[in-house]
Symmetry: C2
């Protein structure tokens, strides 16, 4: 008799019919004798509607009140899900994040879970109930309602699985699992049976939209093994866990293509200490997330200058250009060049740690496709290159053929 934590996202509980489907699935597991804790998100669209209501009242509402407002979304779903289970004869009880014992810090709208005291969850499980817990929310030690920010329901599920020492944590979503590449781009991409935390982290960081980084990081930190699988069918999903010896046999686990990148090059910036620190401090203060940074060797002996390039999310490009223009006089660079016709192509695999020649093979494969490399960045288990946007998908397919298929 296993203890399973399941999480269903907003699409999976998007209307009464779908909530009934979720209940039917939960009932199946229960019929096998498993004990179940089910974490649900707000029904799709509900959170957006609440945000719209708030904006009609005030453009920038206080975050404490936003949490009070948004927490109603998941509270609605837990009640309806518990009813749907009761309707098919399965005893079920709903709990808000606070009632489930999820205690967070005081950072409203993006609170961090500090600890979980699942006393009530345990009592209800012992009593034979399926326990439905509101994702995305908790309360401070003082009893203020908080929310956990984007991807918060995944985090609730994983944190509960850790606190309850669950045998399994299942993240039900609208995809079948983690793929070797985006099947829309690479037709022969296939679902992975398992993937290491670090690999999923790198894949997610490289644009694969499976889960928020923080949930994976949390799972890694507390060693929570979880499965990403579809709520629309019964196919097994992808198991995410600590890397094992056997995983090292595969050099490249997956290929990801991020078409949402832009690049700014600072031309002929003075090559002296403190310049890049200044640039990235100002960008960071403007809440612009910088990804890859490349600095070329310096030119000129008397007054050396260098070219500095960095990538960022495409929607931030205009803001970043403004910020950089404002620094031109202070820093004394020659010009900035913006480019948004870029893609970032990454290959990820823990096997890279023990295999050499991976980068060379990647570059050869691109050369064979006549694709020029603009920037390169490497980590222990990932190599990313920035290339022409128009050739991004072609490159992803070539990379998948070369390393994965």
């Amino acid at each position: 008799m296993a203890l399973i934590v399941q999480k269903y996202g907003g699409t999976s509980v998007g209307n009464p019919e779908r909530i009934k489907n979720v209940a039917a699935r939960v009932a199946q597991y229960r019929a096998q004798g498993d004990r179940l804790v089910v974490v649900v998100s707000a029904m799709s669209g509900v959170t957006d509607n609440l945000i719209k209501l708030a904006k009609e009242i005030m453009p920038l509402p206080a975050e404490r009140e936003m949490d009070m407002l948004l927490a109603t979304g998941e509270q609605t779903t837990i009640a309806l899900t518990a009813m749907a289970l009761q309707a098919i004869g399965v005893p079920a009880v709903s709990l808000t994040g606070a009632q489930a014992g999820i205690v967070t810090d005081r950072v409203h709208t993006k609170a961090k879970i500090q600890n979980i005291t699942p006393r009530q969850v345990h009592a209800l499980l012992d009593n034979g109930q399926v326990v439905i817990v509101a994702g995305f929310q908790g309360q401070t030690q003082e009893g203020q309602i908080t929310t956990l920010g984007r991807g918060g329901s995944d985090l609730t599920a994983i944190a509960l699985a850790a606190a309850l020492k669950a045998d399994l944590c299942q993240i039900f979503t609208d995809v079948d699992g983690v793929y070797t590449a985006d099947p829309r781009v690479v037709p022969n991409a296939r679902k992975l049976e398992e993937v290491a935390y670090d690999e999923l982290l790198e894949l997610a960081g490289a644009g694969a939209k499976v889960m928020q980084l923080r949930s994976v990081e949390f799972a890694k930190k507390f060693g929570v093994v979880f499965e990403v699988r579809s709520s629309l069918n019964d196919n097994p999903g992808t198991i995410v866990k600590e890397e094992t010896k056997s995983m090292e046999g595969v050099v490249v686990r997956g290929v990801s293509l991020d078409k949402n990148q832009a690049k700014i090059t600072v031309v002929a910036a003075p090559d002296r200490p403190g310049i890049s620190a200044r640039i990235f401090k100002v960008l960071s203060e403007a809440a612009i997330n910088v990804d890859m940074i490349v600095q070329n060797v310096s030119h000129g002996a008397a007054k050396p200058t260098t070219d500095l390039s960095f990538t960022l999310d495409k929607p931030d490009l205009l803001k970043a250009q403004k910020v950089m223009d404002g620094l031109k006089t202070e820093i004394g660079f020659k010009a900035i060049i913006a480019n948004e016709n870029l893609a970032k192509l990454s290959i990820v695999g823990v096997g890279m740690r023990s295999h050499s020649g991976v980068a060379a093979k990647m570059f050869e494969t691109l050369a064979a496709q006549d694709i020029n490399i603009d920037m390169i960045s490497t980590s222990e288990i990932k190599i990313s290159v920035v290339i022409d946007l128009a050739k991004g998908e072609q490159a992803a397919r070539a990379m998948h053929d070369a390393f994965v298929s």
Copy 2:
């Protein structure tokens, strides 16, 4: 510097624009130096939508889960109302019923308030905040969310006013106050400046739709003086309070007409002990609310029989007829006669205690209008008659002319 508890109903907070109006009104009071606790209902329509969602899942959802679901309605409004106040520069904080310290019994969907520990409300008031409290909800000692049933938000306001020892409790609604009669029926009806708890109780019981009986009863029990007034204008409302010596000068405070009544007559029922007990027990088990009961003297010496009539809410008539048909053989009455072309006309006033001849004047007035009386029922401060529905409004106007104008 007065401490005021205000309550705004679902229509008053029905959309963002109206919530802003509520905020503007609250800000006015605050500008006068008053300290404010504001109780709000769910936005009109929201509770009905939630009930509809639940019914799509299950015809008869568990009451605990209904409370979990419905409590989100008021939680949404408190957050939006706090935002609307903050938007115009008034410091405000929202509290759920639980956070406001409202502890109830465990009877889900119609819980009774057991006690209020307004520690957090006091702390926030002392801190200069306007405190927005979710009406209609509380929590059990074990931390389960409960709702108070119909009219629950009024009850929250009055109970908070009692617990906080507020100087004033204002129930803002869509009517100007308590009237001597329904102005749609009696054009020269006028708003009362004050009314005694008992009078309002009798008027409400007689069909005047101002407030739920239980809120008035609670206010009477704890001596909470409250004002019923409009959220649409600045007119003073009606003060509801303990009766005073001076109130006795007015014999009839108000006239009410209830057109929602039906009557069942049980013809020739055996006149022996236990018969009426049996009838009303079965009706009560079918959740049919019986109002007036009249039994005639018995006929026949050997096997005496009697006619028994009672009134009930019109929508219950069909169900009641079925219930009575089921009793026919067991009890052995001759027939039942149903009549739904009835109205109940009542006159109410604490002055009746010290004035005689009121009933006589009422009957004379009806006779002068050629209106026949079907049933009569009296209490210490009320006389009700059942008459022909078609003559109801005419009778109400005549009564108002005779006693009130």
